[in-house]
């Protein structure tokens, strides 16, 4: 469902176009309507860009928590350890600590 400029904005815009003098309040409404309309167009353009250049969810950069980052370091370190140890060696401490 697409958004439209508000009803109040539209009526202020029509009155200003008819040449009716605007009160301060109307002036304010008109200004707000212009801003509404601008943000509406910006939003539409932004959506178009997002749809055109949409990145699949799997490729988006995920912001990780500090704990998850530390976990990544441990996983990486463990890989380095496994690569450096004797192939026949089995983890001994894991069972001991359990």
């Amino acid at each position: 469902m697409s958004e439209q400029p508000s009803q109040a904005s539209q009526s202020s815009y029509n009155r200003s176009m008819n040449g009716t003098p605007l009160s301060d309040r109307d002036e304010l409404y008109f200004r707000m309507a212009s801003e509404d309309s601008k943000s509406y167009e910006t939003l539409q353009a932004q959506r178009q860009v997002e749809q055109t250049y949409a990145v699949p969810a799997a490729e988006r950069e995920v912001v990780k928590s500090p704990v998850a980052e530390a976990h990544d370091l441990l996983i990486h370190l463990h890989q380095a350890r496994v690569e450096s140890m004797r192939p026949e060696d089995t983890p001994f401490l894991r069972d001991k600590a359990a």
């Binding site: 995920v62 990780k64 928590s65 500090p66 704990v67 998850a68 980052e69 530390a70 976990h71 990544d72 370091l73 441990l74 996983i75 990486h76 370190l77 463990h78 890989q79 380095a80 350890r81 450096s84 140890m85 004797r86 060696d89 089995t90 983890p91 001994f92 401490l93 894991r94 600590a97």
Partner: protein
């Protein structure tokens, strides 16, 4: 006399003792080490991360596997009785569970959590460089 030895004699003179050309023992034997030995090497670095160890204390800090770190500390009290404590830190999703003897469990929070995460980062950097001879910056995991 081998060609290499002849060349060395020309370069440095005496070639009877070539022990200085050998790789440092630790690095040379890295490929043959057991997991236990590697963890002991890691712990030598890990125990230094938390400042000076008080005299008479023994401290170990190492990562047991890809989600668990162990802190061990022991010392003798005034009567000569040995006091020791082991703390296990387990990463569980976005939390760290602290497990101590006597079935005491709690999730780390605040400063204690910050300190442990910092220690893991330092441990990673120093162990990767000091034990596995890898540049921690170059070999950062892709996340």
């Amino acid at each position: 006399m081998s060609v290499l030895k002849k060349a060395l004699t020309l370069l440095v003179g005496n070639t009877d003792d070539l022990s200085y050309l050998r790789l440092p023992k630790g690095r040379h034997e890295l490929g043959k080490m057991s997991e236990r030995e590697l963890i002991q090497r890691e712990s030598r670095i890990g125990r230094e991360l938390f400042g000076p160890i008080p005299k008479g204390h023994q401290r170990e800090f190492f990562c047991l596997d890809d989600s668990t770190c162990i802190w061990y500390e022991s010392y003798k009290d005034g009567t000569g009785k040995e006091i020791s404590s082991t703390t296990r830190y387990e990463i569980q999703g976005d939390k760290v569970l602290k497990a101590q003897e006597g079935a005491r469990y709690s999730y780390l929070e605040g400063k204690e959590l910050e300190n442990l995460l910092l220690a893991i980062k330092l441990y990673y950097e120093r162990v990767m460089r000091g034990v596995y001879g890898k540049d921690p910056k170059a070999s950062q995991p892709r996340v």
